[in-house]
Symmetry: C2
Subunit: 165 residues, 2 copies
DNA sequence: AAACTCTTTGCAAATGAGTTGCATTTATTG
DNA sequence: CAATAAATGCAACTCATTTGCAAAGAGTTT
């Protein structure tokens, strides 16, 4: 990932993409530019809810427009929660690691040959638009913590959470 | 992908995994073994609903146990609908192509160096358990069909579908 | 074969990410 | 500053997937 955020200027980016500079768009973009790791829509909503009002739906719509404008990249995960990262930083394209326990997403270093390898596939079928390389497992933190450490629960009925079988 | 289904014997597979041979498990496994492409939980439910009764939830639970037993592999997509494929066929691990329009998933040929490449990453971080390579775009059929061809809609409010803006 | 015990189902209800229509508020322009 | 197209808030909705619990089954033991 690119260390500084040099050419990732908020206002310039919005202008270049032909998007009006609303407070919400600036807030979302700022959160993404300062993020250490890719963020989920929920992450963004949390980080932005502090300053000014913003609706959940608006976040999704803004993310859609950023993606359409090539400003950000969307990263899918199992479990249906997707993440987003600035395209200007996070270059070149690289694999990501998803922790199946805490459901966090981290960037991995780009393999040297990955670019070429991806290009070969692209040539084989012109229809290819995006490529994603996704590793899954347990992150360091989840590995070191107590083995029986409960997995974050996203779906299911309300009611008392099961504590131990 | 392995052409025949040779060693993918239904009963032997269940036995090897220590799973009792219920009619539902046999049905789901049969659907997966005969599938030409990876199947979603919904696909499986449809193909199995004909013979005998089976519940949607049961399909999910069976798929979870098959996955835990290493019998099948789960393939995530954007849009939250996941697919499943037999691990015995579909070897070695290979990339998949997901059509963002009709939301179908297809297997791609395994790149020669992919295996080695994956191994390198695995060595870099022991926590890695699975690797997925995911291409997105428009499949041949969706490309040839009328450009304005409507995208399959999964979420959203009830009511008249928008016909044209 | 009947009784018993451990699994697996079916059903109903829920969850949560992401969508959409529509009324209201803004950003931008003249 | 008024006019207008675009962006946002809100409420309602979809849908893949998950969970608790009670009923049905499978494999085993009398
Ligand atoms: Mn990244
Ligand atoms: Mn495959
Ligand atoms: Zn973790
Ligand atoms: Zn298609």
């Amino acid at each position: 990932m690119v260390p500084g955020m040099g050419h990732c200027d908020i206002h310039a980016t919005l202008e270049r993409a032909g998007l009006s500079k609303t407070s919400q768009r600036v807030a979302v973009l700022t959160a993404l530019v300062h993020a250490e790791t890719p963020l989920s829509a929920r992450d963004i909503l949390e980080r932005v809810s502090g300053e000014g009002r913003i609706n959940r739906v608006t976040v999704y719509r803004i993310l859609a427009s950023f993606k359409a404008g090539g400003i950000i990249r969307e990263l899918a995960t199992d479990h249906g929660e997707n993440f987003f990262e600035m395209a200007c930083r996070h270059n070149p394209a690289h694999p990501h690691f998803y922790c199946r326990s805490c459901r966090s997403l981290a960037c991995l270093p780009s393999a040297g040959n990955q670019e070429r390898w991806i290009r070969e596939y692209r040539e084989a079928d012109e229809a290819i638009e995006t490529v994603a390389i996704h590793f899954t497992g347990l992150c360091r933190r989840c590995r070191s913590e107590n083995a029986g450490h409960p997995v974050r629960r996203l779906r299911g009925p309300r009611g008392d959470r099961r504590v131990s079988p």
